[in-house]
C-alpha cells in the first residue's frame, strides 16, 4: 500500500522534506516508524512521539490503510 507521511520540526529537518509518499507493508504506525527512522536516521525514539492518522491521534498499533496520511508528532512546544 501507499501512504503519505508529513514531517514537522526536527523530523522534517532530518528527513530533508516536509512530506513524502512511501510504499510500505507495515501493518501499523509502530512498524512504519521503525523503517522510516532507519532510513532518515531520526534520533527521536518512538517513546518520545505521538502519531496521527488522517488527522486523529491514534495508538501505535492502529491498522494502516492505503492512502492514509500519517504524521509522527515530535514533542510539541507551542505557547
Amino acid at each position: 500500500m501507499r501512504v503519505r507521511l508529513l514531517y514537522f520540526a526536527s523530523l522534517a529537518d532530518r528527513a530533508g522534506c516536509p512530506e513524502e509518499s512511501v510504499d510500505t507493508q507495515a501493518a501499523d504506525p509502530a512498524a512504519l516508524y521503525d523503517a522510516v527512522r532507519l532510513r532518515h536516521n531520526f534520533s527521536l525514539g518512538r517513546e518520545h512521539l505521538r502519531v496521527a492518522v488522517n488527522g486523529q491521534i491514534v495508538e501505535w498499533d492502529h491498522a494502516l490503510n492505503d492512502g492514509d496520511e500519517i504524521v509522527f508528532l515530535p514533542p510539541v512546544s507551542g505557547g
Binding site: 514537522f8 515530535p74 510539541v76 512546544s77 507551542g78 505557547g79
Partner: protein, 141 residues
Amino acid sequence: MSESVIDPVVEKDRLGDAGAGACVIFEGWVRNHNEGRSVHSLDYQAYAPLALSEGETILDEAIDRFKLRAASAVHRAGSLAIGDMAVWVGVSADHRDAAYNASRWIIDEIKRRVPIWKNEHYADGESGWLHPDNSPVEPNA
C-alpha cells in the same frame, strides 16, 4: 491558528455574555532570551488540522470543567519577532476564580497537547527546535 498578527480587540469580542462577571486574558509574547541564550526571532510550525481540532477540544473541556460563559484561543504560525504576540487565550465566567483557573489550565493544555513546534533563532546564528519544557530537542545538533 493564524498566519497574521493577532488582534486582541477582535478576539475579546468573542467572550461577551450578560451572565459573565469576570474576564481573564492571557497573552504569550516572544521574549529575547531562553535557557540563558539570546533569542533573535522564532518560527512556529503547526500541523494545522490537528492543531485546530485539539484546540477546540481543549476549549470545550475548559467550558465544561470550569463552567465558563465563553472561551477562545488563537496561536500564531510562521515567523515572529521579539515582542510579537504568539498566543492569545481569553475566557469569561460568572466569577473570577473560574476565569483565572481556566485561563491557566487552557494555556498549559495548549503547550502540552497542541501540535505546534517552536524553532528559536539565536543571536549567535544557531537555531533549534524545543521540547515542551523549552529544552533543546537535539542539544548537540
